[in-house]
Amino acid sequence: MTDAKVLLMMGCPEVPIQTSIALYLSHKLTNLGLDVTVAGTDAATKLLKVSDSDGYYAKKLVDLDKTLEDIIEKRTDFDICFAFMHNDAGMTYAATMSAISQARLYSIVFGIHAETLAETIEFDCEKIVAKAVHNPVQLQNKLDKVMEEIVK
């Protein structure tokens, strides 16, 4: 699975663990030999840029809507996508990705309403669910197992 193109799709950065998990995933997957792109809203991207000002953990940062547009227009696509979501809008973006892309989709569902939100997902994906807002460790542990599976 090395050289696979991976998209990390960040949503609204209101819930703190999104930024740290995005940086963690980006760095781990890059070290595993995957080609990682991180897409986000303007605010989510700025949070990442300030946290990782030299671009050490997240090397490719792109605009979320522009990326979806490029996939729709078949200018690009990915092999794997991790979609972050803690609200209905995040789920809406992930559902769109499921419909327009060939990527294997992982839905990272977090935040106070994680379990309820995860139950509303009707598209094909693997769900990684953690009712977490400030503490990223539970989600980190679950993602470690997913990454082990990906590189098998």
Binding site: A43, D65, I72, D88, A89, T96, A99, I100, E122
Partner: protein, 125 residues
């Protein structure tokens, strides 16, 4: 996709879920068309969402959804020459699908298929 914000639109429903937005369009439009995610309207706006995505027509006004990651989904409407053209395009696509289907003598595709276009009269919903 934020180019839509530069157009003259009205907000019919704000900061809600995608499902509620779809239901609003279905209840408040005279005609409803279902399009796949990524369907382009007004030349440069790609409608995103959970299939089936509803687009509504009421006279010359087009009803559509707009999702912002931090604020949820909105139902917007635009009523101008461009919306009239978009509604006509949806009608033509629907007509084309029916014609193609009749030629092949096959039943119509399911209205819930993400790739399908389907029109409903108000009383059918």
């Amino acid at each position: 996709m934020s180019c839509i914000e530069q157009k003259k639109y009205k907000i019919l429903l704000e900061k809600t879920t995608f499902k509620e937005s779809r239901e609003y369009i279905e209840k408040n439009s005279d005609e409803v068309y279902y399009v796949p995610p990524g369907y382009k309207i007004f030349n440069d706006y790609y409608v995103i969402g959970i299939p089936p995505i509803a687009l509504g027509a009421k006279s010359n006004a087009l009803f559509f959804t707009y999702t912002k990651p931090c604020h949820g989904t909105f139902v917007l409407t635009i009523d101008d020459e461009e919306s009239k053209k978009e509604i006509n395009r949806l009608r033509e696509m629907e007509k084309g699908k029916i014609t193609a289907s009749l030629k092949k003598s096959k039943p119509l595709e399911s209205s819930r298929s993400p790739s399908a276009f389907r029109i409903y009269g108000k009383n059918e919903i």
